[in-house]
Symmetry: C2
Subunit: 382 residues, 2 copies
C-alpha cells in the first residue's frame, strides 16, 4: 500500500528520465548483490585454501586475483556513481524549468501576498530538498534491501546456527533507531528555535548601538543575552546528550551482538562445522547484514518525509494553466465592474470605454483603486 504510493511519487518526479533511473537501479542492484556475495566468500576461500593448507603461493595468488576483481568492481561503482549524478543533474534542470513555468500560472492575487524569497524557495530550493533526495533515497533503499538479502543468504549458507543469533539482533537495531530518531528530531527543532531567539536578541542588541552607549544600557543587554544564551546551550546540550547516548548504546549493543555471534561461530569451529575461512567470511557478511539493515531502517522514515514534501510540488504543478497570451484589440471596455480584496471593496460598478490611440488620465488619492483598475485591464486580477 505505502510502497505503491511511494512508487507513484518516485515516477512522478523522474517523469522524463524513467529509463535512466531504471538503468541506475538495475546496475546498483547487480553491484550490491555481487559485492555482498563475493566479499565474504573470497575471504573464506583465501583463508581456507591459502593459510590453513599452508600454501603461501596460493594465498598470494588468490589475494592478488581478488584485489584485481575488486578493482574492476570499484571502477564499475565509480562509473555507476557518475552516471547517477548525471541523471540527477538532468532531473534538476528539467524540474527547475518546469517549476518556473508553473510559477507564471499562479494567480497574481497570490503573487502579491508573498515576497520573492518565498517563491524562489518553492521554485528552486524545494527541488534540491525533495526531487534530488528522492532519487538517492529510492536507489539507496533498493540497494540496501538487495545487500541485506544476499548477505543474509551468505551467513545462512556459512552457518545457519550462528545466523539464528544474528536474526535476534535485527529487531533490536530497528527499535533503537526508531525510538532515538524521533527524540533527536524533536530536540533538534527545539534547539533551532532557541538559537533563533538568541540571534534575535543579539540582532536587537547590535541594532541599538547608539541608545546603549548614550544611556549606558550595557548591563541590561548583557544580562538578557546571557540568559538566552544559557537557555540555548541547555537545549543544545540535551540534544547532544540524546544523540551521544544513542551512539554509545548503539555501539555497545553492536559489540554485544558481535560477541554473541562470534561465540556462536567459535562454537561451530570447535564443533568442526565451520572452517576458519568460513568464520572470517561469516563475520564479514555479519557486518554487511547489520549495515544494510541499519540503512534500511533509516531510509524508510526519510522516504516518508520526502514523499510528503513532494505533495507540495504536485500542488503547484496541478495549478490550471493561466499562461494566456495577450492579444490587443481596438477597444478596451469595462461594464459595471466591481472588485474587492476580501472584504475591502475597491471598485463599484465602474464603467470605461477607450479606443486605440486614445489617452485617458485616471486620477485619485492613494488607495482609490487606480492600480487595481490597471491590473484588471491587463488581466492579472480575475
Amino acid at each position: 500500500m505505502i510502497a505503491a504510493g511511494w512508487l507513484r511519487r518516485i515516477f512522478y518526479v523522474i517523469e522524463d528520465h524513467k529509463s535512466a533511473f531504471l538503468t541506475a537501479l538495475l546496475l546498483g542492484l547487480l553491484s550490491n548483490a555481487f559485492i555482498s556475495l563475493a566479499n565474504p566468500l573470497a575471504l573464506k576461500y583465501l583463508f581456507d585454501e591459502g593459510i590453513i593448507r599452508k600454501n603461501f603461493g596460493l594465498f598470494t595468488a588468490l589475494s592478488v586475483a581478488f584485489v584485481a576483481i575488486f578493482t574492476l568492481w570499484r571502477l564499475g561503482v565509480l562509473s555507476y556513481r557518475l552516471f547517477v549524478q548525471r541523471v540527477k543533474n538532468k532531473i534538476l534542470v528539467s524540474w527547475s524549468l518546469k517549476m518556473l513555468r508553473r510559477y507564471y500560472n499562479i494567480p497574481y492575487s497570490e503573487i502579491i501576498t508573498r515576497d520573492n524569497g518565498y517563491f524562489l524557495s518553492r521554485v528552486y530550493d524545494e527541488i534540491s530538498t525533495t526531487v534530488l533526495p528522492v532519487v538517492d533515497c529510492a536507489l539507496g533503499l533498493f540497494n540496501s534491501i538487495i545487500s541485506f538479502t544476499v548477505a543474509l543468504g551468505v551467513v545462512l549458507f556459512l552457518s545457519w546456527r550462528a545466523t539464528l543469533v544474528l536474526i535476534c539482533v535485527i529487531p533490536i537495531v530497528y527499535r533503537l533507531s526508531r525510538r532515538f530518531g524521533a527524540k533527536i528530531k524533536k530536540e533538534s527543532k527545539l534547539e533551532k528555535e532557541e538559537e533563533a531567539k538568541l540571534r534575535g536578541i543579539l540582532g536587537r542588541a547590535l541594532g541599538s548601538y547608539k541608545v546603549t552607549k548614550t544611556f549606558n544600557l550595557y548591563d541590561g543587554i548583557y544580562a538578557k543575552t546571557s540568559a538566552q544564551a544559557g537557555r540555548f546551550i541547555d537545549v543544545l546540550y540535551a540534544r547532544f546528550k540524546t544523540s551521544t547516548i544513542y551512539q554509545s548504546l548503539g555501539g555497545m549493543f553492536m559489540s554485544y551482538a558481535e560477541t554473541a555471534v562470534m561465540i556462536a561461530a567459535g562454537y561451530e569451529i570447535l564443533a568442526g562445522r565451520m572452517t576458519f575461512g568460513g568464520f572470517m567470511g561469516f563475520m564479514n557478511a555479519f557486518w554487511l547484514v547489520i549495515g544494510a539493515s541499519k540503512d534500511m531502517f533509516e531510509r524508510i522514515p526519510e522516504m516518508s518525509r520526502i514523499v510528503g514534501a513532494i505533495e507540495r510540488l504536485v500542488e503547484l504543478q496541478e495549478l490550471e494553466a493561466r499562461q494566456t497570451n495577450f492579444s490587443y484589440g481596438d477597444e478596451v471596455k469595462l461594464e459595471d465592474v466591481s472588485f474587492a480584496y476580501n472584504d475591502h471593496k475597491v471598485l463599484r460598478n465602474f464603467n470605461l470605454k477607450t479606443k486605440r490611440g486614445e489617452k485617458v488620465l485616471i486620477v485619485g488619492p492613494n488607495g482609490s483603486g487606480k492600480s487595481t483598475l490597471a491590473h484588471l485591464m491587463a488581466g492579472f486580477l480575475c
Copy 2:
C-alpha cells in the same frame, strides 16, 4: 614553530577554561591510548588462547570479559564527550558576551558603513565557525597522534616485518589527501558561485511576473535560466567527479595496502613467526594506524584554516576600549570644529555653546551636517 603559534591561539580562545580543556585533553589521550592498545591485543589473546587451543569455555569467558571491559570504556567515552560538550558550551557563552562587549568599542563611523547582518555574523557566527571548531580540532588532533603512536607500537610488537610494508603506505595516504583536498576545495567554490548566479537569474525571473506575462517573454527567460542551470550542473558534476574519484582511488589504494600487509602477515604466519590471533590483532591495529593517520592529515589543514580565522577575532578584541560612560555637565561647547567623511567635508570651523535646559533649533537642507553634528556632540564620531 607553527605548533607554537597554534598553541598560543588555542590558549587565547580557551582563556578562562584552560583547566577544563587540559582535563579533556588528558582524558582523551588516556582513552585513545587504552583502546588502541587493548583492542588488538584482546583479539590476539581471544583467538590464540580460545580458538587455536580449542578451549571453548576459555574463548567464551575471554569474550565476555573483553565485552565487559569495553562496555566500561564506552561509558567512560560517553561521559568524556558530554564533558567536552559542557566545556564548549561555556566557551560559547563567554565568547558571545565578550564579542558583544567589544562590538560597542567599534567606532560609530565603522558601524554605519555595514549592516546589522555583518556584525551579527562577526559577533555570533564566527564563534560557531572558529572558537568551537578549534576546541574539537585540537582535541581530535592530539587524540589521533596518540592513537597513531600506540597502534604503530602494537603492529611493531606483533610483527616488525609486516610493519615495514605498512610504513610505506602512510606517505601515499598523505599525498592523496593533500592533492585532492585542494582540488575539491577550489571546485566547491566555483560551484557555489555558479549556483548563486542561477539563484540570481531565477530571482529576477520571479520578480518580473507582470512584465513577462504582458509582453510574452517566457521563451527568453526559460532560455536564460536553462543556460545558467547548464553551467551550474557542469561545475557541480566536475566537483562531484573529483571527490568521487578521490574516494574510489582512496578505497582502491586501501585495499591494495590491506592486501600487501595481509600477504606479508600471512607469510609471517606460515614462517611460524606470527600466531593466528597475532594476525587478527595486527589487522585490527593496521586499521587503527591508517584511520589515525588519515585523521591527522585532514586535521592539519583544517587547523591552519581555523587559526587563520581566529586572527579576525583577535583584531576585534584588540580594539581600544571606547566604552566611555557618558556624564553630562552643564554646558556643551564646540570650538572651531571641522569634520569630513573621507574627502567630503561636512563641517568647517563650527562653533556652538549651549547651557543645560537651553533649547537650540538646528535647521538646514538634506546633507548639510545636522546628524553629523548631533553624532559629534554625543561622541559617536571622533
